[in-house]
């Protein structure tokens, strides 16, 4: 599903990632952890094509991101869901519009959008909030809208960059439960986080990045 071979990403004379080789299987839930500035976000950016590797090969769903033409990037992203720490919602748009936009870009019909959006909002526990403006929601609710937008097209892979970074404990747990539920439906989930508490509570394989280099850490519970 996701394969990296000797992937290096350099900014100027600084290596954000150095010769990273790793595989993530289909349907797996994996954490990417490490201190701030270690290269977690860079790895995720490489995976959704916001950055190109300086060296090495990087395959997502069998697509080589390094050689992927700019015109084929939208097709890749339609099969990926991405969630950010700052939600990246459109604050002046309704919850329905924020989720529906992902269906609009793939050319879904109005009918399909009207059916699909409430169904996904039901999964993330926001049924009935369709007409609320994104800016009127709490942080946890906004992140759930972001997750709904990321999964509304049933992506094969869900990438989440510090999805609980702006949330308090209870809300963070709610969001992690949703991500786990998404994973149980067959979606490969990759979460960049440094929240050890959450990793303990939801133990999965953990990739640790320090100074751009990858070391495979044992699952959180095994570390205790």
């Amino acid at each position: 599903m996701i394969r990296l071979y000797q992937v290096t990403k350099t900014y100027g004379d600084r290596d954000a990632l150095r010769e990273v080789t790793v595989q993530v299987a289909k349907g797996e839930f994996v954490y990417v952890t490490g201190p701030s500035g270690a290269g977690k976000s860079t790895l995720l950016k490489l995976l959704y094509g916001a950055e190109r590797p300086t060296a090495g090969r990087l395959l997502v769903n069998g697509v080589d991101i390094g050689t992927l033409g700019r015109d084929r990037l939208p097709q890749l992203r339609r099969n990926l869901g991405v969630v950010f720490q700052d939600f990246k919602l459109l604050p002046r748009r309704t919850v329905f519009d924020n989720v529906g936009i992902a269906l609009e870009v793939v050319g879904a019909s109005e009918d399909a959008i009207r059916r699909r959006v409430p169904a996904v909002l039901n999964i993330v526990g926001l049924r009935g909030k369709e007409d609320a403006l994104a800016s009127e929601l709490s942080g946890g609710e906004q992140q759930r809208v972001a997750v709904a937008r990321a999964i509304v097209n049933d992506p094969a892979v869900l990438l989440a960059d510090e999805p609980t970074g702006n949330l308090d404990g209870a809300m963070a747990v709610e969001v992690m439960e949703i991500l786990q539920a998404v994973n149980l439906r067959g979606t490969t989930v990759l979460v960049a986080t440094h929240d050890v508490g959450l990793m303990d509570r939801f133990p999965f394989r953990t990739l640790r990045i320090v100074d751009g280099r990858l070391s495979v850490a044992p699952p959180a519970r095994a570390r205790r």
């Binding site: 939208p74 992203r77 339609r78 990246k88 459109l90 936009i101 870009v105």
Partner: protein
């Protein structure tokens, strides 16, 4: 799909009405400039055309040329293809005409005697033959009967040359105005796009193609262009009416009977199309630049 593009474009216009009006204003100013230029040069060309089609030559006989030689010269010139009408005016007729035009000078003119003014031939050329003026003048000069040949066409020719140069200069200026307008519109729309950076980023993130993102912006550009063209033409019409009202006496002198026709239908149509074209061009430039910067 087109319904969605339209809906998104209308929402963009509604949410950023200030930018929309700013873009329309820039386009309106540019088209107003072009329109004023077209109006002035069009009127100048009409005037030159009128002057040329009314080409007259006054040929004044030397003193002492016998009456029969004058009549023969008139017949010789009448036979030329350029000539539409030729009239022989003897000294007495010229004097009577002058007295009629300037009665206050009558005592002076009559005091000069009957032969004070030279006899002349007043020649009017066919409008389609005005290009042959110089060959007509050459033929007349060859008769060697004249004190003076007056044909006020030299300055018309100069004015025509000036107009041609002004036209070339105008075309160059027009191209510069066009480039500046596209630049200004592109930058104004760039501000609009920048204000919606988050929206574009989100669309990019969920897999929107460049066409999907750019579509509404192009449509907004077309609407801004159409508004701009309408405002610009409206302002031009107002300027035109103001000139007709406030400067009519000047127009009587400077134009053919004080008329100053507005732009023709094809030109108005061209300007109405030019607005949306500028808007779309500006939007495309801005969106392309912006999309290139967002991965």
């Amino acid at each position: 799909m087109s319904g969605r593009v339209l809906r998104r474009a209308l929402r963009g216009i509604r949410e950023h009405i200030g930018f929309t009006l700013m873009s329309a204003g820039v386009i309106a100013c540019a088209l107003l400039l072009v329109g004023v230029f077209a109006l002035v040069t069009g009127q100048a060309r009409r005037l030159v055309g009128t002057w040329e089609s009314d080409t007259q030559v006054s040929a004044y006989f030397k003193p002492g040329v016998p009456e029969d030689a004058r009549r023969a010269a008139a017949e010789t010139l009448r036979a030329r293809p350029e000539v539409a009408e030729i009239q022989y005016v003897d000294g007495a007729q010229a004097q009577a005409w002058l007295v009629e035009r300037s009665p206050e000078l009558a005592p002076v003119i009559e005091g000069l005697g009957a032969d004070a003014l030279p006899a002349s031939l007043e020649v009017r050329l066919h409008p389609e033959q005005v290009g042959q003026l110089s060959s007509f003048v050459a033929a007349a000069e060859a008769l060697d009967l004249w004190e003076q040949l007056d044909y006020g066409q030299e300055w018309v020719a100069r004015f025509r040359t000036f107009l041609t140069l002004a036209g070339m200069l105008g075309t160059a200026l027009g191209l510069i105005v066009l480039a500046v307008t596209v630049f200004l519109v592109a930058n104004t729309i760039h501000l609009v796009v920048h204000a919606r950076r988050d929206e574009v980023e989100v669309m990019r993130l969920v897999g929107a193609t460049d066409t999907f993102i750019a579509g509404p912006f192009l449509l907004e550009g077309a609407v801004q262009g159409f508004l701009g063209a309408t405002f610009g033409l409206g302002a031009l019409w107002a300027v035109h009416q103001l000139v007709l009202l406030r400067a009519h006496s000047l127009l009587v002198v400077a134009t053919d009977g004080g008329t100053l026709p507005f732009l023709g239908v094809p030109t108005v149509f061209l300007l109405l199309l030019g607005g949306p074209a500028l808007g779309v061009g500006g939007a495309w430039t801005a969106v392309r630049r912006f999309l290139a910067a967002i991965p």
